[in-house]
Each structure stands twice: as structure tokens, then as C-alpha cells.
Symmetry: C2
Subunit: 470 residues, 2 copies
């Protein structure tokens, strides 16, 4: 692989050629790269220059390269190109695309354009395309391709290899082959490895594994990617309710799914609700607002409750105003402690390392961890407050009226210990309970946990202050 820097230079160069309308030179330079990289360069052209130049260059690519490059472009860019080329060119691209890429493109196009394209498609394929377009988004059905090698169990290895030689070019993968019964039921799986290391006269029925793992066409893509991670497959068969083989999913498509699912989880954990896979810069301002405002609003409401709690302790506060100076520390440390625990538990739940039945062990572990952390942080604080802020405040020599010294230190440190323990227990229990009752645990991450621990922190601190200081 050329280093990143070299590739950036290549992009620079090509952009310059295009800007100067040296399209042939641009094309020649482009063609020195592999199709994935050409796709990436075209993305840059589209972003930094304009649609027109992108389409000029795209049309100058050899037809077969153009189709492959097209399949690697993000769907927004595909749509832009589709709108700039002729119907004939569109038909050619759609015809030549791998079946699963074809479905992906058709899903993004406006309905009237899809109809126009489908009119020109042979009836058999049109039916298949319509079936695939109807699988729910993020289901196994929406990820699979019907282009696989299917064998019969009474074939010999020699016959199977001859068949693969004939059909192998059009199949998504040839490395796993599928053995079907008469009624299209999936009977077994045989790898190309076992075909090439066995003699030509061995029967497929002797080689095929019948104890294979499969997914259902309506399974969620997350389950599918779990299966790939667990078993390390290159491809997995997808069956319908009657156990008929309807397609296969290959590992390269799963890498994209994993990335998508991870992004969704991470964003949810920060209170961003985004169900598209549009890149940050390509998303409109209003869409960004829509993705972020709802949670900010919900959480803002929770802070109003916290504010109410503080207001109800007005008497305590106005008597010892310096208590306010320690609030950010207690609330912040509570929030951070809770979100550490929540994050660890959310991730462990996602990886199936723990489930609800472990809740007792989790609480016990978090309790011990939080007691140690709480004692350490409290002690450090106690020393700091008594030593540096003998008056009890944070900023140098205490002004008049700030004079409760050790009692304040005791209040702050006692609260700190209780808050850390409570935050860690809340942070670990909430995601587990959420999962149990069918809510995505990722929603129970930092923003949610920290707004809850804020309430707990304020109540703990104010009660303790009322008891100890006054």
C-alpha cells in the first residue's frame, strides 16, 4: 500500500489536472490506481470541485472500470452521478453491477427512475429485484446476494469444479458452495478448499457439512454480524421460513455493517439520534439539529428537577454560600464515575460478555470498585480542603462569612464517597435493566446517567450539609 501521504499527493495532482481541464491526463493518472482508490478520488473531485467535472471524468473511464468504481461510491454521490448521465449509461451500469450493489443503488433512487430502469430489465430478474427491494432495511435479506454457487449432492468433485469454472465469474464468492435439495432447501455447505484438496471422483455428499450455521432472511443485521464475529466465516447462507436458500451474505459486506452499527452505538451513547449513514460534513445543519435537539431537551428537563431540589435547600445554601463552590466537583465526579461504569457495562452487553443474570455479580464488583475509588478521592479532597482552603472555599484566602472549615471538608468528602458509590451502581444497573425490558442499553450512557447522578449528588450533598454544617 502506498503511504497516505503519497495518495494525498496523487489526489492533489488529479484535482489540478481536472481544474485545468486536462481531462485525458486526469484519466490516465486515475487509471493507475485500483478501483477502490479511484472511487475515493472521485469523491474528492465531487466534494472539492463540482458535479460536472466529476461526470466528465467518470464518463471517460473504461466501462467495466466505471461500473466497479460506481459500486464503491457513497450512495449520495451515486445519485448525483446518475442524474448527470444518460438513461442508456444508467441502464448499462445497473445491468453490470453485482446484484447486491444493484439493490443498494435502486433503494436510493427516486421511484420513477427505478420504474424506468426496471422496465428494461428481463421479467425474471425484475421479479427478483422487487423481492429484494421489499426486505426491511437492516435485515439479512437487505444484505444478501442471490449470486452464489449451488451444487447437487450427487455431483463429483470434478463435476463441481467444472461447474464453478463455468459459473464462477458471476458469483459473489466461489469459496463456499451451497448444496441444495430438489425443493431449493439448503442441504449442506462445501468449501472450495475441500474441493481442490480432494480427488475428482469424490462425491459432494461425502464432503459437505450439514451442521452449518445460517441466518433467517428477516434476522437483524446485528445478529448476522455477531455470527460472523463468532465463527469467522467468509460467507453465511440466508434461508426463508421453509428453510429454502434465498441468498448469501459475504464477510466484506459485514465489515461495513459492523462499522455502521458501531457508529450508531457510539452516537447514541452521546445522545445523538442518527438513523442515516450520511457523513458528518454531508449532513445538513437542520438534520444535525434534528439529531441532537431532542435529547438535549429531555435532559434539560431533568436538570430543572435538579434545580428544584437545589432551590428547596435555599436556606442551607444562603447560610453557607461556599457550599456552592464544591457542587461542580461533586456533580462532575458523580457523572464521570457513573458514565465509566455505564460504558463498560453497555460494551460488555453488546459483546455478550455479560447478561442480566450477572446483575448481582456486577453490582458487587461495582460496589467494591466504587468504595475504593470513593475513599481515595475523598481523602485527597479532605487533605486539600483542610490544608489549602482552611476557610472552606476554593479561591485563596476565604472572604468574610466562609468559615466552617473542617465540617465543610467532612460534608464534601462524605458526600463524595456516597455519590461515587451511588453513581457506579446506577451506571451499571440501568443499562442492564434497559436491555432486559427491551430498551437499547446505549441510551443509558453518559448524558442519561450523568443527569440522574446530578440529582442524586445534589440531594446527598444538601442533606449532608444540612445535617453536618448547620
Amino acid at each position: 500500500m502506498d503511504s497516505e501521504k503519497d495518495f494525498d499527493q496523487v489526489i492533489e495532482e488529479i484535482l489540478e489536472y481536472i481544474e485545468n481541464k486536462q481531462y485525458f491526463r486526469a484519466r490516465d493518472e486515475l487509471l493507475k490506481n485500483n478501483e477502490v482508490d479511484i472511487g475515493e478520488i472521485l469523491e474528492e473531485v465531487l466534494e472539492k470541485l463540482d458535479v460536472e467535472s466529476t461526470i466528465i471524468v467518470f464518463r471517460m473511464l473504461p466501462k467495466d472500470v466505471a461500473v466497479e468504481v460506481f459500486s464503491y461510491l457513497p450512495s449520495e454521490d451515486q445519485v448525483e452521478i446518475i442524474h448527470g448521465i444518460t438513461d442508456k449509461e444508467i441502464s448499462y451500469i445497473i445491468k453490470e453491477l453485482d446484484f447486491d450493489d444493484k439493490i443498494d443503488v435502486l433503494e436510493e433512487l427516486p421511484a420513477n427512475l427505478v420504474d424506468k430502469i426496471l422496465e428494461k430489465t428481463p421479467k425474471e430478474e425484475r421479479k427478483l429485484i422487487n423481492t429484494f427491494l421489499n426486505y426491511p432495511e437492516n435485515s439479512a435479506g437487505s444484505l444478501m446476494t442471490p449470486d452464489y454457487i449451488s451444487l447437487q449432492d450427487n455431483m463429483t468433485v470434478g463435476e463441481a469444479l467444472a461447474y464453478i469454472k463455468k459459473e464462477g465469474m458471476d458469483s459473489e464468492t466461489v469459496y463456499t458452495c451451497y448444496v441444495k435439495e430438489k425443493g431449493r432447501k439448503l442441504e449442506g455447505i462445501v468449501s472450495l478448499r475441500s474441493l481442490v484438496i480432494n480427488d475428482d471422483d469424490v462425491k459432494i455428499s461425502e464432503l459437505m457439512g450439514t451442521d452449518y450455521v445460517y441466518v433467517n432472511v428477516y434476522d437483524d443485521q446485528e445478529e448476522v454480524s455477531e455470527a460472523f464475529k463468532k465463527y469467522g466465516f467468509l460467507a453465511i447462507p440466508v434461508v426463508d421460513k421453509e428453510h429454502r436458500l434465498v441468498g448469501i451474505i459475504t464477510v466484506d459486506d459485514i465489515l461495513d455493517v459492523i462499522e455502521e452499527e458501531t457508529t450508531e452505538d457510539i452516537e447514541r451513547m452521546a445522545g445523538v439520534m442518527d438513523d442515516s449513514d450520511t457523513e458528518y460534513l454531508d449532513m445538513s445543519v437542520l438534520r444535525h439539529v434534528r439529531n441532537r435537539l431532542p435529547w438535549l431537551f429531555i435532559l434539560m428537563c431533568s436538570y430543572i428537577i435538579t434545580g428544584g431540589i437545589i432551590a428547596s435547600f435555599e436556606a442551607t445554601l444562603s447560610q453557607v454560600i461556599c457550599l456552592v463552590a464544591y457542587m461542580p466537583m461533586l456533580m462532575g465526579t458523580g457523572g464521570n464515575s457513573g458514565s465509566q461504569s455505564a460504558t463498560l457495562i453497555i460494551r460488555s452487553l453488546a459483546l455478550d460478555d455479560i447478561d442480566f443474570s450477572d446483575i448481582g455479580r456486577v453490582i458487587w464488583k461495582e460496589f467494591r470498585v466504587s468504595v475504593i475509588i470513593g475513599i481515595v478521592l475523598s481523602s485527597l479532597n479532605f487533605i486539600r480542603i483542610c490544608w489549602l482552603d482552611p476557610g472552606g472555599a476554593g479561591a485563596g484566602p476565604g472572604p468574610a462569612g466562609w468559615g466552617y472549615g473542617p465540617m465543610i471538608a467532612a460534608t464534601v468528602c462524605g458526600s463524595m464517597l456516597l455519590i461515587v458509590i451511588a453513581a457506579k451502581i446506577i451506571g451499571s444497573v440501568l443499562p442492564m435493566v434497559a436491555k432486559k425490558i427491551g430498551i437499547d442499553p446505549a441510551l443509558m450512557a453518559t448524558p442519561m446517567i450523568s443527569s440522574l447522578t446530578d440529582m442524586v449528588s445534589v440531594v446527598t450533598y444538601m442533606l449532608m450539609a444540612t445535617a453536618l454544617v448547620l
Copy 2:
């Protein structure tokens, strides 16, 4: 795939057989599952019952199954089993493991045990093992295997297939074959697909691709997984400084790397520093404390500064005590706004969707998003404060002394707008700057951002209150 529920039942059943010492029945039930699942069941046995029973059952498995199951166990469990079986059994397992799994196991074992095992290994292999053990953790070298199919460019397809038939059983993959020059330099790559669809007398030199992507043996595993995600490979060649082929990495191992890297990123974003891949429940309490305490402490120190800022506004606060009630809302909303932005930017940086050169566009986008969000949240707040808290506090009818009404509403709402804008700009710029100067952007996530926005929030709020209310 059997549904999760059925598999849980299978585990239950087997655990029961083992508890009742019906080891033969347990083994028979175990062997109905595939090796990955047997591994998972043994993990459960080890966790819920004890080491002794686990080892009894493990030893009853057929030798070849035992080796494969062993390779799927987490390394802590492998070490426990190694300590419970005889030296002869250990030697057998190590000898039979795939090369990359063998290295993984040896890395986890105590040095004296490794020496004992290596003594019995043929000299040639011992040298190779030592080379592999010396590659840095998380480098391409530590992930690769030397078991690949290597061909010469003057072979014919027929000769190549005959060679694969002979060697294919011991190779990690046969689906990508590597063509080497005399000096072990990597010359090209040829897929098994192109071998089986071409005629026997075609020369390898005509089929091989010479424009292949490769990684260097010291590249970080993150770069390797980026290459897999980008190009959708099944395997990637690893070369040394002289461009000699030293091994290959297959996609199934990359799925584990992606999971590991994602976990590390997510944990870092919540202020948990964990460089092991031990599961949550298997990690000791002290280790959990060590992973979490440092960041909590660092952040606690930042809150002390925030506390100091508050203390310096003591005059303002003691005059209008109800200002305190709005602090959690302003600080909390600031923190949440900032962490939304930081999370989106950190993820976009990780996926290479944006880089430092986009910083202007990012700031402009965040500015517009934050102005809209800030105005919406401020307006809602203004209405609420004027309507529900005419006295200016959060809790019902305002007690004596809380009576600055509309000016307080203006202070809170004006601060809210400024805080949201500042938080979103800080949240987006900081991760980009961090990456630019070589710090992991994941460290600039929620805890860090929210402790910074806390300071900004308090200063903004207090200054505005001093100006407007007094």
C-alpha cells in the same frame, strides 16, 4: 443457527450432567455442537463450576476437536487449562495449533513453560516462533501467520492447483495465493477463483495481480484493519523492509481486531484506560480501580478550578441565591452539547471522513447548528421561567429573597445560548487539534469536554448575572 434460547438450554443441560459427574453424557452432548460453540460451553463450565471439571471434560474430547476448541478459548482460560493438563498433552496441543494461534498461546504462558515447550520443537520452527514472539504487540507481525500458499510465476494453473491440493490442508487460507521471486520478494497475488476458472495450461504470470495492497510487518493493527475495511479483502500480505513476504493476515482475525479497537475507543471516550482485553467480570477489582481512578482524579482537579471561579463570584451569588438553582441546567446542557459534537467528530476522524484541513467547515457547521439549538432551548427556558417561576426559582412559589424575575430569565437564557455555542465549538475543535498534535482524539470525549465546558459555563453565567441582575 439455533436460536439463542435453545443454546442456553444446551448449556444448562451440559452443566447439569457435569455437576452430576455424568461426564460421558456431557461429552456426547458437547460433541453435537460445532467447535466454536463447544469452546463457549467450556467457558461457561469454567465460570459456573470449576477448573477441575472443565479439565476432565476437555480431556475427554477427541484430540483434534480438543485442539480446535482450545484455540477458541479466551487466553485466561487457555492458561488455566494448560496448568491442569500434562506436559505431553500441552506439547500435543501446541504442535497441532495453527501457527498464529500457537503464537497467541505462547505469548500468554509464563516464560519457563514456553522454554520447556520450545525445547521439544524442531530447530527451524523454534527460530520462526522466536521471531514471531518478538513482533510488538498490536503490530501486523503479531497478527500474521507464515502458513500461506506460495507459487512461482512460471507455474501453470494445473501445476498450481496440484500444489494447492498437496499443501492446502496446512495453509491458513488457500483462497489467495502468493507469487514470490527468488529472493522471497513478493511479486504478485493470484486468487483461487482465477485459478479454478482458467484452463490448466495458463501461466500464473498471466493471472497474477502485481498492483496489490500490502502492509508492513511493523504497521499498527489499526492500519491493517483500515485496509481490510477499505478494500474488502479476505487476506492481506505482510512484507518486511526488503519487501520480502513474511506472512499473511486473514479477515477472520481482523474481525477480532476491529472489536478490540472499538472497545478501546469507546472505553477511552468514557475515561476508562484499559490496555488489556480482559472481560469485565474477569477483571479484578484493583485492576478496575487502576483503569478508572486516574482520569477521575485528573477531572476532579479541573472541577476544583471551576469551584474557584464560583467562589470568586461569591458576592453575586449571596445576593441572588436563586441563581444557583440554574447552574446544573446550564452546566449539564453545556456538557451534553459539547459531548455530542466531540463524539461525532471523534467518530468521523476515526472513519477518515474528515481531517484537520476540514476544521473551518466543521466550525462553521457547528456554529450554525449550535445557534439554532441554543435559540430553541433558550426560548423554551425563557417561557418556562417567566411563566412558571415568576419569582425566579425552580420550586413552586418563590420564598423570600427570590425576586429578580425577568432579569434572571434573561441571564439564564442568554448564558444558555452562549454556552451551547461555546460547548459545540470546543467539542468539535479539541478532538481535531488533539489528532493534529498526535494525541488520541478519543481522550477528548465527554469527561474532558464536559469538565472544560463546565468552566466556560460558570464564567459565562456569573459574568452575565453580574452584569444583568445586579
